[in-house]
Symmetry: C2
Subunit: 221 residues, 2 copies
């Protein structure tokens, strides 16, 4: 029982900081997304495709990317001249609100349309931590099996959007798309599902349209 | 700093129980492996292939399989008539020593050759928790990218064997095998690397040979 209490304390302290982050973003009408996936489901590849398109559309954004140790993801994004702030979490298995708050200290949020948090690759812990985002986005992958939604239901429940990535590999893997989507909907009736491939470009426009709507709504509310 | 102290307390309590588990297994000369991978890297598929072969070889074993919520993995293994004990971790992101100790309470370890712990799909937290195993085994996958060893170095450092799974998909993904293996060796000079495919059977005999050696050594020491 002691562990449960400790965990509640940690989550409660985190939620306090998350509320502060959320309030700062609300003041600037900046929309924030928190991208969560398994290691290697394609978060960085997705940002490599989406980032340049957001720039083309004149959307101002910054990517806060979390890695346990390396700065590989940040370097990949920086190579595309995308605005990125790197967080190293050490052995921590998620980004918490304090890490995001610290990362945003050096960012000028005035007029910023979008903050993208690229979480540590992990389907469990990041789902529990509010970092002040408007929405969590679950990125699933066709190569990791169609049962992941039911095996990691908290993430699906907490997310506003589920991206099913790597559709270009569907013909080489055993992945029942209908089963996956059906289970996503059983867990979360209001979640939006977009199927994407960073190689063929499938679903990228659908995502851009979704995010632009969200940014627009945030500006007028 | 408080978090660091709490974490040290949790790990220290865990290590105490892990030592008890290790002592029970030593008494019976039972070898225990702790399988760790990302969600969907193929732990259960690997056991579906390995399990029947271990049976054929007359090796007695039990699989302790951890899942956050469902019993899907246990059902898949049970369908093959493999001996399995299911642990549900709820939102916990790893199996700890206490969960393994509880699971083994109902198992008759006398004469048992091997205990296989199938951890929760996560590259971060399980690497930190000793559950009383003889060795940790990292299962990587060609579909999750060749940079995972350097992005999750603790797991590689803690493991005696790295399995690089899904080699059948190598031709469809951008995965530099040499880069991956080179990085594994940079982190851990003594780790064994076996490349496997549960579809083509590549590497399965190499694994069986490795595990039989380990079981034999445990019996005579």
């Amino acid at each position: 029982m002691a562990f449960k209490v400790i965990k509640e304390d940690i989550l409660s302290e985190n939620d306090g900081v998350a509320s502060e982050v959320r309030a700062s973003l609300a003041q600037e009408k900046t929309f924030m997304i928190n991208l969560i996936s398994s290691p290697g489901a394609g978060k960085t590849s997705f940002l490599e495709v989406i980032g340049p398109k957001l720039k083309e559309e004149g959307i101002s954004f910054v990517i806060v990317t979390g890695d346990c140790f390396t700065s590989r993801d940040a370097e990949r994004l920086d190579a595309l001249d995308l605005p990125v702030v790197q967080i190293n979490t050490g052995n921590a298995c998620h980004i918490d609100a304090q890490l995001v708050a610290s990362a945003l200290e050096d960012v000028d949020l005035e007029g910023m349309d979008l903050v993208i948090v690229e979480n540590v690759g992990n389907l469990v812990c990041p789902a529990e931590f509010d970092v002040g985002e408007d929405v969590k986005i679950a990125i699933l992958s066709t190569t990791e099996g169609d049962d992941k939604p039911i095996k990691y239901p908290l993430l699906i429940l907490e997310s506003a959007l589920a991206i099913i990535n790597k559709t270009d590999l569907l013909e080489y893997v055993d992945y029942d798309m209908d089963f996956s989507v059906e289970n996503i909907r059983k867990i979360n009736q209001t979640i939006k599902v977009i199927k994407t491939s960073c190689k063929t470009g499938e679903g990228i426009d659908a995502f851009l349209s979704w995010i632009k709507d969200k940014i627009k709504i945030k500006k007028i509310t």
